[in-house]
């Protein structure tokens, strides 16, 4: 079927490329050197690769959460809020944690729990009252953002009470850097573990199986004694927990304190990451790294400022579309929900 779509797909690619080239020329820049700049930063500079790798950590954790949820056709749009909830709970409790490895583990666990709670709210609303999770999670995002905004100006604000941010957490609770001379921290290990565990549960575990059944045919699931409602709740808790974990990892690994907007747009990015990975846990880190590379490359473009900033957004959108169309032209599907929940 995709074979018949090859020409239309290539046409789309051509159209997009021409459009972008035209827009770049309009800005008086040279498309070739500009493209080179992006690719170079993304692929051929140490800094670029490290930047991407760093971004890959949270996107992987959150992408896994999305994979779990979407596999059950539970649409968790609330990762941003769950991430905040996780980091908040962890930072709140940080002063009470022991200053050692156990403390770090507990810190991350609290992040996990915080995300689980925030996701659980949506879960309860869905399972108990049949409220749609898409609305619940979107709304909970806004609430979490404002709550963070209040906390860093109120109860959690630093001693000096000047800047809207929390005090730094104990140095002992920070995730250690694992490659000297870089910012790559132990969160990378956490992410790898998460990938392994999620892959096992989703692809080999009974729970993962139930999940896929619910996502694939609710009625059949019900007849088999699996309650989609219960599943949806569990799934929202789990995916929320992974987002919360990501939040705790970002705080413990990079910033050491709470501050507004420390993970902007990660929620949406995670959805793209997971879907491009066709909800396959093993592909999620790959997809996450891919998006991070794109992001790092475009960052270089944004810095040298040869083109107006909005062109960066245009490129971002275009590259995603070109990837999608390209994957059709190469007659691979493109992570359709249907295929994603099917199991061959």
């Amino acid at each position: 079927m995709t074979a018949g779509l090859r020409m239309p797909a290539l046409a789309a690619v051509a159209f997009l490329v021409l459009m972008v080239v035209a827009l770049i020329l309009l800005a008086g820049a040279d498309p070739a050197s500009l493209a080179y700049g992006v690719v170079e930063r993304a692929l051929f500079t140490r800094a670029g690769l490290l930047e991407a790798l760093l971004r890959t950590i949270p996107l992987t954790l959150m992408g896994l959460g999305i994979a779990i949820a979407f596999k059950a056709r539970v649409f968790n749009i609330g990762m941003d809020g769950q991430l905040i909830a996780g980091s908040v709970l962890a930072v709140l409790a940080a002063p009470m944690l022991p200053s050692n490895v156990l403390g770090i583990v507990l810190f991350l666990a609290l992040g996990f729990a915080g995300g689980a709670i925030w996701g659980g709210v949506a879960g309860v609303i869905k399972a108990r009252f049949g409220g749609n999770e898409i609305i619940a999670t979107i709304m909970l995002n806004y609430v979490a953002v404002q709550m963070l905004s209040w906390l860093v100006r109120g109860p959690l604000q630093e001693k000096m009470r000047i800047i809207p941010r929390s005090d730094a957490i104990d140095q002992a609770l920070r995730l250690p850097v694992i490659f000297d001379g870089t910012r790559i921290h132990a969160g990378l290990i956490v992410a790898v573990l998460a990938v392994v565990v999620t892959a096992l549960v989703l692809m080999r575990g009974r729970f993962g199986y139930r999940l896929a059944v619910v996502g694939s045919n609710e009625h059949a699931a019900r007849y088999a004694g699996i309650s989609p409602a219960r599943m949806a709740a569990v799934v929202l808790v789990l995916s929320g927990a992974l987002a919360g974990l990501a939040g705790a990892v970002e705080v413990a690994g990079l910033y050491g304190r709470l501050q507004e907007g420390f993970a902007p747009g990660f929620g949406i990015a995670a959805i793209a990451v997971a879907l491009v990975a066709r909800l396959n846990p093993l592909l999620v880190p790959v997809s996450a790294f891919g998006f991070s590379l794109l992001y790092a490359g475009l960052g270089a473009l944004a810095r040298n400022g040869v083109v107006p900033f909005p062109l960066i957004n245009i490129l971002e959108g275009t590259i995603i579309l070109v990837f999608l169309a390209g994957s059709v032209a190469l007659s691979r599907g493109s992570g359709r929900m249907k295929e994603a929940v099917a199991d061959g």
Partner: protein, 297 residues
């Protein structure tokens, strides 16, 4: 020889206030000094470190972070790049050998704005709409209230926040609600949301006081004056000191004397207040300059 300066902005250069002002400043500096300039827009918190590092690694002589949120990342990395100056705007940080900061006295600016607003208000109600209570905006807010009370102790000062720097529509609605509550002179701080406030004032036919650079042209019949936050001065100072090597790792607080803030001319609105009110405004400005005001934020 040519030096390279990078300006890192939290928002877009088209916001008509905070970021536009900085951009205009760097443009001016470019014309004035022998420098090569790069501007990075829409830098969210998660990106700051990578952006600063990249510029430093690319050998820039000075990287200007436009906003308090740049202070911490700068402090974290500056020692790794001793050949690059890190400058933070609207914050008070400094560190050997290469961190300096320029902090405009937003509080004083708000104070003057409040004073003018109080004198131009017929209803005795004025309002300030902030984007999000970041330190400078809180200072401005506080100054606005105190300045107003100084001129007319019975003035009622409304204050509300948009909860976003870019939500121009909600900014306009909040302004409208304050106008409905009787405010007849409003001011606003933030980014795009400021445009919303000015438009709401324009539609309702009440007066507004601009912030950042002189925005009189935006609505000549609405904008009485502007509480100038002269970002261009920050940048001119920073670059100038970089060029002649006089830049020190310290915080430069920019008040009226340094030209870091100011009050735009009243223009055609001058006639709308009595001569003595006008005199009081001029006097106030002088007193602030002379440090005679005790309740500045």
């Amino acid at each position: 020889e040519t030096k390279r300066v990078a300006l890192v902005l939290p928002g877009p250069i088209t916001d008509g206030t905070f970021n536009s002002a900085a951009n205009k400043g760097i443009e001016a500096a470019k014309a004035k000094y022998d420098i090569e300039v790069a501007v990075r827009e829409n830098t969210d918190f998660a990106q700051i470190q990578d952006v600063l590092r990249s510029y430093a690694e690319e050998g820039y002589d000075m990287v200007i972070g436009h906003g308090f949120q740049f202070a911490e990342p700068v402090m974290e990395i500056h020692s790794e790049y001793p050949d690059t100056w890190f400058v933070v705007n609207t914050a008070q940080v400094a560190a050997e050998p290469n961190v300096a900061s320029f902090d405009n006295r937003w509080g004083d600016a708000g104070y003057m704005a409040g004073a003018v607003a109080a004198l131009y208000s017929k209803s005795g109600k004025i309002g300030h709409i902030g984007a999000i209570p970041v330190p400078v905006i809180e200072d401005y807010n506080l100054g606005f209230e105190r300045g107003a009370k100084r001129m007319r102790p019975d003035t009622e000062v409304l204050s509300a926040y948009v909860g976003s720097f870019s939500d121009i529509a909600r900014g306009a609605e909040i302004t409208t609600s304050q106008i409905e509550q009787g405010a007849d002179v409003v001011t606003s701080t933030g980014n795009e949301n400021v445009v919303g406030t000015i438009q709401a004032a324009q539609k309702a036919g009440v007066l507004a006081i601009g912030t950042a650079f002189d925005s009189h042209a935006m609505a000549p019949e609405t904008i009485v004056t502007t509480a100038l936050i002269n970002m261009d001065v920050n940048i001119d100072l920073a670059v100038g000191k970089l060029m002649d090597g006089t830049l020190k790792p310290e915080t430069y607080v920019l008040g009226l004397d340094e030209g870091g803030i100011g009050l735009a001319p009243l223009r055609e609105f001058e006639g709308q207040i009595s001569a003595e009110d006008k005199a009081r405004i001029d006097a106030l400005v002088e007193d602030i300059r002379a440090g005679k005001i005790d309740d500045l934020p």
